[in-house]
Symmetry: C2
Subunit: 362 residues, 2 copies
């Protein structure tokens, strides 16, 4: 099977998957594990799929060092649905919850939770245009949880320290930075992440929930929205996204083969350092205005000194095999998303192109 040279794909999500993962998925698409059929064609409750599902969870537990006192769930609905669903599960109708707002996604998390909890903004960086992350704020000790967004995909900020929340459980939407470096899971009440950046294809959402939070009463709701019910049924309360679960499993194996989260973390830091150095060293041709202590290692927004060059930049970069560099419509400019599946070689190709473009158009 031939195909054209693979472009370097800087899409913010759905994002590039590891080529080894895609190649294996292609190889076994018609015959998975000797069944003679596709992984998409077998019962999720059958022996083969159940074994794969269990292996996948164990691989993730090993990668992240997830304590036994946490439940892992593979659900549907994306992070957005769980903005609402986590409030339904972790808070009662009269409860309060605190939110840290650092950009588009954390704002959305508050908004979707509002019908289910008295959501309070405990800290916000809106006043500085979401160019930083808060370092100090007061958490309501009665809050059901403190929610934050460790990495803001659109604004390009990232927490490099954990918010202090005392006894209030920390809940994190890690959609765009999960599995990007080692993490102390025991500091969190709940971590969740849409799959389509560092885990697998879209349509799958991963949740890691401290068991005591599963026992909170929540409110009257359908069983299908109740995390505790999904936990009792090992994420098979209804038919899961079996293809997504399978690709997540291949991705976890791939991360382990790369050396695990220590090695991935070092590589991600080197990639981000090189790209920010190229931007900062461009003599103002390219700019990134995020507080250097809060720059994202995953999503690097930047602007050209003259936005009249944007269209030329996008066309020339696409012709050079650099794909999906257009910034989010809310901010304009460019954005390079450099998740786990983007190797240093791809980042270097971008840096080389940017240098060349600046020389030609400077």
């Amino acid at each position: 099977m031939t195909h054209p040279a693979r472009p370097w794909n800087f899409s913010a999500g759905p994002a590039a998957l590891a080529p080894e993962v895609l190649a294996q998925a292609q190889r076994e698409l018609l015959d998975w594990r000797g069944t003679g059929v596709s992984v998409m064609e077998v019962s999720h409750r059958g022996r083969d799929f159940m074994a794969m599902a269990e292996e996948t969870e164990q691989d993730l537990r090993a990668l992240m060092g997830i304590p036994d006192s946490y439940t892992v769930l593979f659900l549907q609905g994306g992070a957005t649905q769980h903005f609402a669903q986590l409030a339904m599960n972790l808070a009662g109708p009269e409860d309060r919850a605190d939110y840290v707002v650092t950009g588009h996604w954390s704002q959305k998390a508050v908004q979707e939770a509002m019908p289910y909890v008295n959501a309070r903004v405990a800290a916000s960086t809106e006043a500085d245009g979401f160019r930083s992350v808060p370092t100090q704020f007061e958490v309501d000790p009665q809050a059901a949880y403190l929610h934050f967004t460790p990495n803001e995909t659109i604004h390009g900020t990232e927490f490099h320290h954990l918010p202090e929340s005392g006894d209030v459980p920390l809940v994190a939407d890690m959609s765009s930075d999960i599995l990007s470096r080692p993490l102390d899971v025991s500091k969190f009440g709940m971590i969740y992440a849409g799959a389509q950046k560092n885990i697998g294809p879209s349509g799958l959402v991963l949740l890691i929930v401290r068991d005591d939070l599963l026992r909170r009463p929540g409110r009257p709701m359908a069983d299908i929205f109740r995390y505790a019910r999904h936990a009792e049924r090992d994420s098979m309360l209804n038919t899961p996204n079996t293809w997504g679960w399978y690709l997540a499993g291949l991705t976890f194996q791939w991360i382990a083969a790369q050396g695990g989260l220590e090695a991935i973390g070092a590589r991600n830091q080197a990639k981000a350092d090189a790209l920010y150095a190229a931007i900062d060293g461009s003599g103002g041709f390219y700019t990134n205005t995020i507080d250097p202590t809060a720059r994202s290692r995953m999503n690097v927004p930047f602007r050209l000194h003259d936005e009249a060059l944007d269209a030329t930049f996008l066309q020339a970069s696409a012709e050079a095999g650099l794909m999906a560099l257009k910034g989010h419509r809310a901010l304009g400019g460019m954005r390079a998303s450099i998740y786990n599946a983007m190797p240093m070689q791809g980042v270097q190709a971008l840096i080389d192109f940017m240098g060349d473009f600046a020389r030609r158009h400077g």
Copy 2:
């Protein structure tokens, strides 16, 4: 690429996909539409995916003859989530809704809706062990909707007529019989279906909603649960299951290439007729006790005259390349699910095996 002979896959779901669909998905897994990357790796809001999504909807509209006054949605959560979500959207907290209960799935539909609507069982066939479908019942004219399950995947019953509901909108969970024959969509208020039988892989749910029902106020809830918001954003309110959507598109093209729903419907009827004839003509070796006027064309449960032979039957059928014939644990015995992707050749292979097995063990 070599693989063993493909078995005939009678799985109830996730179920067999058309081999032509799988082959195309495999071929273009690393390079979709000349992008150089997988369909899983592109933005759902990019030009290529948006074009595919729109074509897929138009293909479905053409296949099913969906009137312009209906909205088509490609969402997540499976039919089970929408048991709850449809009640949240189509009914206010004080409203009543009527349900027809004909087996496991329609019971589940009532149960998940209960926190959101005053659900009443308008008719049930529980008294006869769910071996038939009701022909007469009184609908509450004030009901927000009448819900029914045209095909019960576990019990193996199917409506071959529509319930009369007057002005009360008819809502149908067609997970296991959508696209299996021509349908007059204009008779329905809403049709929905999990993808994993006749549409594509699991993790995608299709909804066809009459536009006036989208304007019902529902209740306070997060935007992500509101059908009207998904409609405004063409099912891209959040990141959809892009792989599922893509495979649904390939499947719709495949159905059209088979001759559309008329041809598929004739083929499905012939498959079911042949299998029921083999059961009924087995001199009692095999039995199906469903009212003949309510037998499912999609899911054919049957028992051996001596259940001590079940294990032998399952092992021998697997060795003969007939996969996943074990009945649902709630009913025992056998079940052959013969959705669109199962050709007459596969059904004939099953019939031949059954005849041979009966001769050897009769």
